[in-house]
Structure formats: C-alpha cells, structure tokens
C-alpha cells in the first residue's frame, strides 16, 4: 500500500519573484528497488509514486487537490546504506552503464514504519510529487481527517490537519494583524503579510505542543533547483555525527521547531486571509492603498519605495508589539506567594519560565547573572535570558500597573503587593498577563482550578449490616465542606464570608470565596441527602462530579467500599475466582480473574462485556461462569446464548468438553419448536440454550416469552448497528420482564475504540449508562469521530470502562500465562449446500469403491477423501467453479467463520498466514478476500515464479504497510520461508500429518518471532475432518508411526472403516 505524505516547500525568493511557498504532496510505496546514491545531485527517491499515478490515486481517494503542478523537491530522509556490489548478484544484471561514475554511497531511503537499521544516515533525495499553492493547500488540509485510522495517510498529514485547524481557530477568533515585511535584500520586493498573534496562553502552549511533536518529514525539503551550474554540485551528507555538529543545511537540520512551526502557521494564515480579503481603497491615502492592495494580492508584493515601505513596516510592527512579542524559548513569569505568618503583604517573585515546559523555571537573579551567555532550562536553551525577562516585564507593566514599583532597581527579583493588588492579580490580572504572554503562578489554593472552588470532602462505607449486594443501597457517610484543599464547617464559612474580603485565610491556606458559595453550602446542609452505592460509583468515576452542585474534592471510602470501588473502576485486577466444581479443565490465572469479574458485576446486576483478545478463551470463561452459577445453585432458569451460526458448533463442543454438567439445548434447524408450549417443554431442566442472531429475529415472539435468567451474546459486534432488526430483537430480549436478566456480551474486537458501535452494546448491557441514541450521537459520537475530541472520548471511556474487560495477548500479565504458541481448534459446521453435496458424494462413491478392483481402490479412497475435504472448504471448490459468485460466503460455514476471525485479525493490525492444500481454493479465496477487504492478498503456490516468491516474502516481512494476509499452498509455502511478521497461522483444511502442519506453522513460529503465535485449525464437525482429527489425537503415537509418511495409510482402510470415517454425523452440526 502506498502512503501519502505532505512536505512544506519554503518560498524561493529571487529578485524576479516574491516566491510563494507550496505544499508538496507525495507518496511512497513498497517495491523492490536498486540501492542508489547521489552523484552530481541527490539521487532520485526510488520508492515514490510518479505524479501521474499519484494523481490517479488521489482522485480515487477523493483527495485530489486543486491548483496543483508537478514538482520536484530535495528531501532529507533517514536512509539505510546498502552496498550496491554485494547486492548485485541477487538482481538482474542490467547495470552496464559504464559512463556513470559509481557513487560513493549507495542505499535506500527508509519509509515510515520500517524497522530502523542500527546505522541510520540522513541523505537528500529527489522526490517527485504535486505542489499545491498555499491557499488551495489550506483548503485541502482542512478536508483531511482530524483523527487517525487512515492507513494510507502518513502521520504528518494529521499534524498538518491539526495545524490548519489551529489556523482556522486563530482566524475565527480574529487573532491576526496585517504587517509589512521588508525585503530581505537588494532588489527583493517588500511584502504585505497577514500574521497570526500568538500572545494568548493557550495559543502559546499549542505552539509548543505542535513544535515538540512536529514530524520532521513535514519540513525536510529544500526546493529543487535544476542543476544548472557548479553551485549544485555540492552533495549533502548528513550523518548523525554531522548533524550533532549542526551541519548547516538549514532546511533539513532538525532543530528549532518553535520558530519553524510559527512560520508554517503564518504561511497558512496568510494564504487564507489573502485569498478572502476584498481590498477597498476608497478614501485611502497612497500608502494605505498600496498596503490594502498588496494584502489582497496573490503574491503580497507591495508597490512602494523603500522608504515608504520601511515606514509602514515600522509602524505596523510597532502596532503589533503592543499585542504580541517575539517567539522565544522562554518567557517572564510572576509567582505569587501568600503573606508570611502575621504579615499582610503578598510577595511577587520574578522568574524566567520555559515555554515548552512551564515547570522549568529559574528565579530572575539567575537570568540576570547569565549576562550574555545562554541559559539552560532543563534541555531548553534560552538565548539572551535577561532581555527575554525584561521584555516580558515591560509587557506585564501594560496590563498590571503595580509591577512598576518592583522594577526600580537594576536587577529586580521580587516585590510586595498589598492585599488589594493581590486580589486584582488573582481575579483578573493573571488572565490578562497570560494574554500578553507573561506566565503567572498562583498559590495552589487560588489557582482558579476546580480545587479552589467550594466543594465537599466525603467519607463513606457500607453500613455494618450490609451485604453490599445492591446498587441502590444507602451508605453510611459523613461530609465536610472543602475549599482550596482545606476543610471547613458551615459556621467557619459564615464567619469567613462575613469578613467581606475576597481573599481570606483559613487553616493556613488562602482561599477565594465566591458570591454563591455560602448559599450553596447552606442549601446542602439543610438537605443533608443520602448517598447510595450507585452515587459512590458515579462520584468516583470522573473528577469534578457534583453532588447538589457542589464538586466532590475528596472521596474516602472505607475498606469494604474501597474494595468494591476499585474493582468496579478496574483500578486493580479483578479478584480471581477459582474454577468451579464440575468445570472440566483448568483456568489460567487471567481467566480466573475474568470469571471473578463476571461474578462481581453479576452481583450488582450490571451487564458485562468480556472483550478479551482472540485466543484468550472467552468461551471457557463464560462456561466457567455458568458452571459457577450452577454450583452456587443460582442457575434456576435457562440462559440464552446468541451467536453467529458459524460458531454454534464450537459452543456446543466446548460446553460438552468443559462443562458436561450443563444441559445444553440448541434452538436451531427446521425441527426447532415453533410454539411456546413445545419450546417451554423442551427447555425443562435446560441450563443453556444456543441460538443464532438470525433466529432471534425470526422467533422473537416465541423466545421473548421465556423467563430467561440471562442473555449472552457472542461476537457482540453483530448488534453494532442499532437500527438493524437483529440488533433490536437482541436488545429487546435483554430487557427485564418478570425477573431481571443478566446480560453478558463477548467480543474480540476493541469495542471501546469503536465509538459508533458502543451505543448498541451499552444499550444491551446497561441502557442507562449512555442514554438515548440521539443524545449519544450529539454528545459523543460527532465530537469524537469528526474532530477526534479527546475530552469527550475520555469521558465516554470513563463511563463505559467499568463494564468492559479487555485483555490483550501482549499484556505483560497475560503473556506470562500464555504459551508462546497457542493452538485453537475452530469447530465449524456445514452449510445446507455443503451437507447435501457431502452426503451425495459419500453415497455415490462408497459403492463404487466397494465394487472397484483392489488395485484401484487405493486411489479411489484418496480421491473421495480429497473431494470431501474440498466440500468442507467450499462447494465451489468441489464443483470446480473458478469465479467468486454472489452469496459466495454463505455457501460455506467454514468460510463464514474464517471471515469472522480474519476481521478481528485485521482490526487488531495483526498479520496472518493462511495455508491450504488446494491451489484452486487458494485462488478462489484470494479473489474473495481481496474483494472483501479491498486489499492485496498475495498467494504463493507451486507455480509462483522464484523471483516472485522472494518479492512476496520480502514485502510481507519488510513493507511497513504490507499485506496483513498471506495465502500459501501447504506444499509450496510450508517449508523454508521465514515469515515471522505473522502472529496468526490458519490451517484452513487439514493435512493428516501433524508434522507437515507443524512445519508450516513454523514459518511464523520460529526465531525472530517476537509475539505469541495463534494457530487456528479448522475442523468441520461431523465430517471426515473431525473423525481424522480424533484419530490423530487418540492414537497420536500410532499416528506418527503410520501416517508419518503422508496420507497414504488412508488408502488401506477397509470399506466399513471407511464408511465410519466419512459418513456425515448429522446431529453434530447446526
């Protein structure tokens, strides 16, 4: 896959043109390329899309900008050295260019996401792309997504879209002034510019953030000048050592982000305002007319004599100075300290503070003492610290007059403020000072945050008599008023309020009382409300939650309540619950915690979503939970489990294996009960009912009437679309009727990150948590999806996280519990078409085999087995179809299940190898998967050319955006290859020789594999696949002896043995 990039091309100013900057849009892609190096000029980047392809690609993505021209630039990129000679033997020998002198250095530029080689060097590369003129560029950037999740857009595009968003915000808030920028030298034009004002505290902070995170690829360009003379024969070499010595290649040197970002921002703001500005020169004098016209012109060139331009430049810069200063590494900072014991004067200390990290401060005396030297604030260098401090103080003086007194000496360090002055500073001065770019640090209790407001400190615990089992239960509690970190009684509050002084001292802390504080406190006292466990959960969920309008500053829970709160908020791992009696298997430690968590939420009647990563055993945790209920005699009514048809078989198998005591009933197939009474009859003594999403929708009236104890949904993403019928029916069933029903959802997808899908899930689990769908869309979905609003996302996560438990294979706590290779049996059934085809084939062929002469039997048996395996894969394979028709997926249960699992693999960003023994199946599957995910799925099989094989393997292993799925035929791909980037291996069909399968598995599970490998083996239940699987298991030693050589042994089976082996066991499949 190609990756789109955007790099700013700074303006080239020449005496003949003012030069405009441009945004270079380019893309790199993975391909096999010859290492190359600079000769007279930097080498051509061998991995970029040519402009024509780029145009087409952008057009397809609906991202083709307006106003573009083909352009070349010289980009400095991290590169990997590769010796051309050593590599040549692996390449076709076409390097016969004798005239070209060998470059000293050869290599390739790195691509985003590629592993970084130990020795990384920086080299300039000629990059071709499309240049967008500035105002079109701002339009284009404004259309880019603001949040991530676009695999073919480079990270820096998001940085750009954030920068553009900021530019829009500055324009919306009118934070700009027009300026005149003087010519940089003889003959260059003077220009009118629109300049953003970055004096406000939040804008300054944003500049620091964007500068600190600037992806350098966004600014690593030198405009490409065609090599026309001797000047261009200097080749740039930028090794890390050289960079450390600050090699003077100005535009590539990764430094001084602040100023650079400020300039980029200025370019964006200028481009937009220039385009929108409609000059009106009526009644203007010649000077202003020239300025006005230039402000609206494309190039900004201002038609004035030097002298007049200088006058305008001086006046406009003087104009701007009153609002905003220069972009510097540090700023002046005023720190307010409360009066000393007994005193009444406040102290204001002067300091110098780093812009990038306001916690880095030095007192003024240090700044004074540094003289002409550079001051080091942490990692930050501040040049001319004394001047920076003085300039800030001069600006501070314009908004906070009292400072004048403090600047009477040559090197002032602090001053004293009267209580009235201190109050002005706290109330209004601090904001104004921050607005002119001066930092202000107030005492914590006055800093204006939530803590400085009047609120509550609460202590609570379960009453002694409580079993702490319900949510509505009242807690034993007491409370105190709290402000600025100190507690106070209502009487004390009254006394302080009576002082009529805005800043008062209490228990040693200075606090600011607001007009309504006393009234709110009195109201709360007289109401003296009760609080319940439910309140406690809410108040401890997010900071600043309020109780009767008073924020809760402190919540101290007694030990028993604390335990419940911590578990509920998942601040600690859930208390484990050992596998219940009658559970036929072992739980890993994290599974015991999962079981404990399900039981915990069930106790409070809260729905729970177990969202563990694939392969961590959600099924057995759920089964263990049901067995736990059974043993505790709490399982009194049947539990309904809804799952996609494709996994019902799996559920049945697992329940048989792990919880044989549970009585399982399948509500499935044509013979299922069709009236309430027959259904009720069939459910007698039944613990678990399995059914599919499809049937829920069809049999809703029937199923609704049953008094379920609980509803479990597997592959819960099936209900993600709230308006779909199966989603509505499922949520309907989960509502309590006569009795409460417990709700559990299982899914392997990262639900908490899929905002649009959360609502339906939570509506199923705990409808109150997210409210109505409309509210949810306005409050969370739009802000998060459209703008990537983190505060909404944070709030949303805080709300839903108590109900979602997700552990990943990669979690430290899990890794130690898991073996390095996890084998998973994926049980699947047969579709209707598969079933009839299977039975017919068995019937027809067995007779033929019985009648066949001995010599031919062997071959015929193998032929039958092969055909049956093909049918288990897909009827199309057995019927020798060659195209993927409509409804292709539904014709095979195996494919249906495979698709579901692959969905999770792709979603998680994992990579998988898919093995099959049938090349024809590989081709069909390749076509299907490519169509399904709109991506490239390579297929390596016997007739793949050798060079192609290597390219496929290289691409899978190396390309940062390479394919996530890799199809291989067992014979061609089972040996020799190194495919450690995959952490999933699928054996779609079975080869009855474990050694062959293991060898294939070892393509991924071998040295170099950094992750756990999940091996998925598909077994079609009731078919020959299951029988042979069983045989191999039961007689594994025998199997190794007999079948070590391959599948031949099957040919020697007697007809009766064979019949047993291949006959379809119809009961075992839904």
């Amino acid at each position: 896959m190609s990756l789109l990039h955007a790099t700013w091309l700074p303006a080239i100013r020449t005496p003949t043109s003012s030069g405009r900057p441009a945004l270079l849009v380019w893309a790199d892609t993975w391909r096999v390329a010859q290492p190359t190096g600079p000769a007279e000029t930097p080498a051509i980047h061998p991995l970029t899309l040519d402009p024509e392809t780029l145009r087409t690609w952008l057009g397809e993505k609906d991202l083709l900008p307006e106003g573009i021209i083909d352009a070349t630039a010289c980009l400095t990129l991290p590169s990997r050295q590769i010796k051309a000679n050593n590599k040549s033997k692996a390449k076709p020998k076409e390097t016969n260019a004798e005239a070209v002198s060998e470059p000293e250095w050869t290599g390739l530029p790195l691509q985003a996401g590629e592993p970084i080689p130990k020795q990384c060097e920086w080299w300039p590369w000629q990059v071709q792309g499309l240049a967008i003129e500035p105002s079109a560029a701002t339009n284009w950037l404004a259309r880019l997504p603001l949040s991530g999740g676009q695999p073919d857009l480079g990270d820096e595009l998001r940085w750009w879209s954030h920068l553009q968003r900021w530019a829009l915000s500055l324009i919306a808030r009118g934070r700009w002034l027009p300026q005149v920028e003087l010519s940089k030298g003889e003959g260059y034009p003077h220009r009118a510019r629109w300049v953003p004002l970055l004096n406000r505290e939040d804008d300054r902070r944003r500049l620091e953030e964007l500068a600190a995170r600037l992806p350098l690829v966004a600014t690593c360009a030198l405009p490409w000048r065609e090599p026309t003379g001797r000047r261009s024969n200097r080749i740039t070499r930028l090794r890390p050592e050289a960079m450390r010595a600050a090699n003077p290649i100005a535009s590539c040197r990764p430094r001084s982000g602040r100023l650079r970002v400020a300039n980029l921002l200025e370019d964006l703001v200028d481009a937009q305002l220039r385009k929108s500005f409609e000059p009106n020169t009526q009644g203007l004098d010649p000077l202003l007319t020239a300025w006005e016209e230039a402000l609206g012109s494309e190039t900004g060139v201002i038609q004035l004599e030097n002298e007049e331009a200088e006058r305008l430049a001086t006046a406009s810069s003087h104009w701007k100075e009153g609002v905003a200063g220069k972009v510097a590494a540090a700023r002046a900072c005023l720190e307010l300290f409360t009066p000393t014991e007994g005193g009444e004067l406040w102290e204001l200390r002067f300091a110098l503070q780093a812009e990038a990290d306001p916690t880095l401060k030095v007192p003024a005396c240090t700044a004074w003492a540094s003289g002409s030297q550079v001051l080091q604030l942490g990692e930050i260098r501040v040049e001319n610290p004394g001047e920076v401090l003085l300039e800030g103080m001069g600006r501070a003086l314009t908004v906070f007059q009292p400072i004048e007194r403090g600047l009477d000496s040559a090197t002032p360090e602090s001053m004293q403020l009267t209580p009235a002055e201190a109050f002005v500073l706290v109330r209004t001065g601090s904001t104004q000072l921050r607005d002119v770019g001066v930092g202000v640090e107030l005492p914590a209790s006055l800093s204006g945050g939530l803590a400085s407001r009047l609120g509550l400190a609460i202590k609570a615990e379960f009453p002694d008599t409580s079993r702490s089992f319900t949510l509505g239960e009242s807690l034993a509690w007491n409370w105190e008023l709290m402000i600025g970190g100190v507690t106070l009684t209502l009487r004390e509050l009254e006394r302080l309020a009576s002082k009529r002084s805005p800043l008062v001292q209490h228990k040693g802390a200075w606090i600011e009382l607001r007009p309504n504080d006393l009234k709110n406190a009195e109201r709360f006292c007289s109401a003296n409300p009760d609080i319940s466990l439910d309140d406690a959960l809410r108040l401890t969920a997010t900071e600043g939650d309020t109780l009767m309008k008073l924020p809760v500053h402190r919540f101290e829970a007694g030990p028993r309540l604390q335990g419940v709160l911590e578990q509920y908020h998942q601040q600690k791992a859930p208390d484990p619950l050992a596998a219940p009696e009658g559970f036929n298997g072992q739980l890993r430690p994290y599974q015991e915690r999962g079981l404990g968590w399900l039981a915990f939420l069930n106790r409070f009647d809260q729905g729970a979503c177990l969202a563990d990563d694939m392969g961590l055993g959600k099924t057995i945790q759920l089964l263990a939970f049901l067995q736990h209920l059974k043993i505790e005699q709490e399982l009194k009514r049947p539990v309904l489990l809804i799952a996609p048809t494709s996994v019902l078989t799996n559920w049945k198998r697992e329940a048989q294996a792990f919880t044989p005591d549970l009585k399982v009933h399948e509500h499935y197939g044509p013979r299922r009960p069709s009236t309430t009474s027959t259904l009720q009859k069939s459910l007698k003594g039944v613990d678990l009912v399995l059914t599919s999403y499809g049937l829920i929708q069809r049999d809703i009236d029937l199923i609704e009437i049953i008094d379920w104890q609980g509803v479990v949904i597997d592959e819960a993403q099936a209900i993600k679309n709230p308006s779909a019928k199966q989603s509505q029916a499922t949520r309907e069933i989960a509502r309590p009727s006569k009795n409460n029903r417990f709700r559990i959802a299982l899914t392997g997808t990262p639900v908490e990150n899929r905002v649009s899908e959360l609502w339906a899930l939570m509506d199923f689990l705990n409808p109150k948590v997210l409210g109505e769908e409309d509210f949810f869309r306005q409050r969370y979905r739009l802000p998060i999806e459209r703008y990537g609003d983190m505060s909404s996302l944070k709030d949303l996560k805080a709300r839903v996280s108590p109900f979602i438990l997700r552990r990943l294979k990669t979690d430290k706590a899990i890794i130690s519990d898991l073996p390095e290779k996890v084998e998973l049996s994926e049980w699947v059934g047969l579709s209707k078409e598969q079933k009839s085809l299977y039975s017919k084939t068995v019937e027809n062929t067995l007779d033929a085999i019985a009648r066949a002469p001995q010599g031919q039997r062997h071959g015929k048996v193998l032929g039958l087995l092969t055909r049956l395996k093909q049918i288990c894969n897909h009827p199309a394979l057995a019927l020798k179809e060659t195209t993927v028709g409509e409804g292709f997926m539904a014709r095979s249960s195996k494919l249906e299940r495979l698709e579901e699992i692959l969905e999770e693999v792709i979603e998680a960003g994992d990579r998988a190898l898919l093995f099959t023994q049938f090349a024809e199946w590989g081709h069909l599957l390749q076509a299907y998967l490519q169509q399904r995910w709109q991506c490239d799925v390579p297929f390596l099989h016997g007739s793949t050319r050798k060079s192609e094989r290597q390219a496929m393997v290289d691409r899978f292993q190396e390309d940062p955006r390479g394919p996530q799925l890799f199809l291989l035929s067992l014979k061609a791909g089972g040996v020799g290859l190194n495919l450690t980037r995959a952490n999933h291996v699928f054996h779609i069909d079975r080869w009855w020789n474990p050694a062959v399968e293991n060898q294939a598995t070892d393509r991924a599970y071998r040295i170099g594999q950094a992750n756990r490998v999940m091996v998925h083996k598909f077994i079609t239940s009731g078919s020959v696949e299951e029988k042979i699987n069983q045989m191999i298991r039961e007689k594994s030693r025998l199997a190794e002896d007999i079948i070590g050589s391959g599948e031949d042994w099957l040919g020697g089976l007697g007809v009766n043995q064979l019949r047993d082996l291949v006959a379809l066991d119809d009961n075992s499949s839904p």
Partner: protein, 292 residues
C-alpha cells in the same frame, strides 16, 4: 482617533480634543509647538500641511529631510535636526537607564517610558527639546524667518510621525533603537558581572557548547511519527468574544495621517474589522464542514 486633532483653531483643538489618547511624546511635541509665540504663522503653516503641500518627510540618520511644495516650481527642501549627544553623554544616559529595570523593560517592549527624561538628566542633557528653538532647521525657501511656514508645516506633521516609532527621537539624538538596545544590554552585562560571580553557575552554559541532538537523530522513526489527538480547544471552533480580537487589542494604527485623506486610517481599520468578521464566519463554516 487621529493624532492630528487640529481643525481650524489650532490652540483649542489641541487642548480639548483627544489629547489623552495620544502617546505622551506626541503630546509633548504638540505642546512644544503650541508654546510658540507667532500663532498666525502657525495657522498658515497648518493650512499648508493640511492641503498636502508637504510631499515627503524622511528620517535619515540624525536628520529629518522634507520637501514642501511652496510657490516655487520646485519643492523647497527642509532639514530639521536636534543637537546630538556625544558618546560621553550617552555613556551617562546608558548608565542611568541601566539603574532602573523598568526603563529597559519598556524600551524592549516597544514602549517609550514617560519618565525617560530622568535618565537623560544624569548627563545634563535632554531627549526632548525643551523649546522649539532647540529644533534646528533649514529651509531652501527665500524667506529669511526661521521657522518659515514650510518648516512650521513640518513641525505639525512630525508629531504624528513620532507616534509611528517612538524611537525616532533616540535616532535624532544619535542612537538608533537597535544600537540603543545593544548598548543597554552591554551596559547591563557590565553591571551584572559582579552578581554573576557570586551566583550559581550551574544553569548557565557557554555559547560554544554543542547543541543537544534533536530527538529524531537518536530515534529516526520520529521523522514520521505523530500520534497526538486534536487539542480539545480546537474541537469546536468559536469566534472571539465581542471586542476581543487582535485588531481590538492593537487599537489605533500608529501611522501618521496624510492630511489630504483625513479619514483614511479610520476607513482602513474599519474595513479590516468588517473583513475580519467575514473571515471568522468563513473559518467557522469551514471548520464545521471538516471531517464530513
């Protein structure tokens, strides 16, 4: 608010209109002119200035060069200058300026301290001319009187020009702003040497130490990496509060008005304000459409 409040009656207009709105140094200049005894001549000069007879005023080094269209075909050349302070005088001034951090602070922030004369007092000199007679002048016109009406016309326009750049006065006295600031910094360093020796040196580094390498040099993947989410303040883009734009904060443009275009500056600013509102509307619409 115009810095040339003179309409027809010079004296009253000056004292009643907008005086408080002007920078103090402009005010002081106007007072200087008004202290002049020959009111009739001033009136004629003002008419001259207002009608646009002054075709150019240039600050060139320590002198003001102007051209005034008189009765002659060629404009008359006018030169104005003040007595320049010598280096010794400047030495005293700089030393005095260093004693009060506020003076440097204001000068660095582009503000002319209102008590700046006190720093000059140390040298026994002044920044501002005390009497109009201290303003030296020459005019190429045949009029023997000094100031002639051409020179007086320049007087009027000078006040406004001072508001464009408060440091012009320093320039006329022999120091440009940059030279002044550089000298001040030097002076401060001298004064601070004593403190520097006794203070903690740890946080101060020498200029010649190599700059720490950029993080991308050590971690080249940073060349491409950006994983931050949109800043919460930028999620919803809001307009400025009433009267809270940069234009409001910056106030009147300190540009001397051309007398023939009495409303020009106001028109310019008003148009900018109007356009600014349109810009804001447009930006918000564009922001709302994002991500759709």
């Amino acid at each position: 608010m115009t810095n040339t409040p003179i309409k027809t009656d010079i004296t009253t207009a000056l004292s009643e209109q907008g005086l408080g709105e002007q920078p103090w140094w402009v005010e002081q200049w106007m007072e200087l002119i008004n202290s002049y005894r020959f009111k009739k001549r001033l009136e004629r000069a003002w008419t001259y200035a207002r009608e646009g007879n002054v075709t150019s005023i240039r600050f060139e080094g320590r002198r003001v060069h102007a051209r005034v269209q008189g009765t002659d075909e060629e404009p008359y050349k006018v030169k104005l200058w003040l007595d320049v302070l010598n280096d010794e005088d400047w030495g005293y001034v700089l030393e005095a300026l260093t004693q009060k951090a506020r003076w440097s602070a204001q000068l660095l922030a582009g503000i002319m301290p209102s008590d700046i004369e006190r720093a000059f007092a140390a040298s026994g000199r002044r920044l501002f001319p005390f009497k109009l007679q201290e303003v030296r002048s020459e005019c190429s016109c045949p009029d023997k009187a000094n100031p002639c009406k051409h020179i007086s016309a320049i007087y009027f326009l000078m006040g406004d020009r001072f508001s464009e750049d408060p440091f012009v006065l320093f320039q006329l006295r022999g120091r440009t702003r940059s030279k002044l600031l550089a000298d001040l910094a030097e002076q401060r360093r001298e004064a601070l040497k004593a403190i520097a020796i006794k203070s903690n040196q740890e946080t101060i580094v020498n200029n010649e130490l190599p700059v720490a390498p950029h993080p991308a040099v050590i971690e080249p993947s940073l060349w491409w990496a950006y994983d931050a989410s949109l800043n919460a303040d930028l999620v919803v883009i809001t307009p400025a509060m009433e009267g809270d734009t940069g234009l409001h904060a910056a106030g009147d443009l300190p540009l001397a008005e051309e007398p023939r275009y009495p409303e020009a500056r106001q028109r310019f600013l008003k148009h900018l304000h109007q356009q600014g509102e349109a810009f804001a509307q447009q930006a918000m619409l564009q922001a709302m459409a994002a991500g759709e």
